[in-house]
Amino acid sequence: MQVNEEFVPTIVAFCCNWCSYAGADLSGTNRLPYPANVKIIRVPCSCRVNPTFILRAFQRGADGVIICGCHPGDCHYTTGNYYTRRRMTLLFSMLDYLGIERARTRVEWVSAAEGQKFAETMRSFVKDVTALGPNRRLEDLRCRKD
């Protein structure tokens, strides 16, 4: 991917079905662009996102992973995103502790009505990760493409 030209990061976005995935749909409906290197994986709730999925993404060559869910208090399943919030806070803190760049992971709450926010969030996340350069601290060399 990085052939002596501008670095284009691979971004995996986990979106909960009820809010953020719908928010992503809305940014499409409103034609609000965000970079094409963001690929969305639909999960029923942000609390379905297992830390292993995040590590797996980094292993396979993702440069950034973002998890989007309903705003706390608005979870379709009432409490799922509260657990997400605790789990991801602790996981991100651990990754930071291990020296993994903080900006490679993020949690954002995006409601089904926030198409604009979804697009802006993705743009800003891609910008942050691009600035960091390729993920070298949490990659599996066997999966390296170049």
Partner: protein, 326 residues
């Protein structure tokens, strides 16, 4: 103390309260004490040991030992820190409480044989507490080492001399120890730059040989089947093939025991590569204490651990960025 424990064990065996005793006996050397089950007074008399090398946490063995049908109750000796692991296992329904008779015993800290040997003391035969010192019996006579210089790391940062759960107590109940040194090392790492931290952990984790000793000894790693052994989990691995897998294994292991780890320090004690694994668990404990209020796994047999509970006003994950930059 050894004789007191023996006597009490004999009594309970004799009264028929218990049928077996879970304790410690000498291994190959007198400093590699191992857990053992004693079924008779004779066995106890011959092999039972309790001295400054009895660091091993017996609580995890109860999962197996207390579930043996028709075997009756088993007596277990629990040092204060072990009693938290026991409490946590009870909370997770891993131990049939009705089959256990738990006796809390006092602990003045356990010695680290490596530290003693590093002082040129060899041919160790036994160890005793004597005031501020350990009295080490060796082939070449007795040696004195100050407690501070011989204690295991986890005992230097002991969290409590008070037992969490037990049926009976031998000796006086102790008190909690303030957390003033426990998190010093974690804080030191936190104060480093990310690059320094990365280098530190690379240096440590790259030594991992995936012997699984940490997993085998950890009372929180008590799964019937570990995700890393389960091909269906998608993350199974036998030996870490590259730095990523080393990271993966230790991150996920620490995450799985987060909120359940009692900081007993067994992982670091048994690691043949001397990787300070407890610093991963302790990081989670420190974060949990700071972000969600002080919590001590295993302290109570009911309630929810911080990873399976929440409050509406919890901090956002972005706190990680903000804390780091302050």
């Amino acid at each position: 103390m050894q004789e007191r424990l023996k006597a009490r064990a004999r009594e309970l065996l004799g009264d028929g309260v218990v049928t077996r005793v879970l304790g410690w006996k000498k291994g190959e050397f007198s400093y590699d004490i191992t857990p053992a089950v004693f079924e008779s007074a004779e066995e106890l008399e011959r092999d039972f040991v309790f001295d400054g090398f009895c660091g091993a946490n017996l609580s995890k063995y109860l999962i197996q030992e207390a579930s043996k049908p028709g075997k009756g109750k088993i007596l277990v000796f629990l040092k204060p820190c072990d009693s938290y692991s026991y409490g946590e296992l009870l909370k997770e329904h891993r131990i049939a409480k009705e089959n256990v008779y738990a006796v809390g015993i006092p602990c003045e800290g356990m010695a680290d044989a490596d530290r003693i040997r590093a002082r040129g003391i060899d041919g160790i035969l036994g160890i005793e507490h004597e005031g501020e010192d350990f009295l080490v019996h060796t082939l070449y006579g007795d040696e004195r080492v100050s407690v501070k210089e011989a204690l295991a790391e986890r005992c230097l940062s002991c969290k409590s001399k008070r037992h969490a759960s037990c049926d009976e107590l031998i000796g006086e109940e102790g008190e909690d120890v303030p957390d003033d040194v426990r998190f010093t090392e974690v804080a030191r790492l936190e104060a480093m730059t990310p690059e320094e931290r990365f280098e530190f952990w690379r240096g440590e984790l790259s030594r991992c040989v995936r012997c699984n000793a940490c997993r085998n000894v950890c009372p929180a790693c008590s799964c019937e089947n570990c995700v890393f052994d389960n091909p269906a989990s998608g993350i199974s691995q036998k030996a870490a093939a590259d730095p990523f897998e080393e990271n993966m294994y230790h991150i996920i292991r620490a995450f799985h025991v987060a909120g359940r780890c009692t900081d007993c320090g067994e992982c670091s004690r048994v690691c043949p590569e001397h990787i300070p694994l407890h610093l991963l668990n302790r990081k989670f404990i420190k974060d949990i204490d700071e972000l969600y209020g002080a919590y001590r796994a295993g302290e109570s047999e009911d309630g929810k651990n911080p990873l399976v509970s929440y409050t509406e006003g919890d901090v956002e994950p972005s706190v990680v960025n903000e804390r780091g930059r302050a």
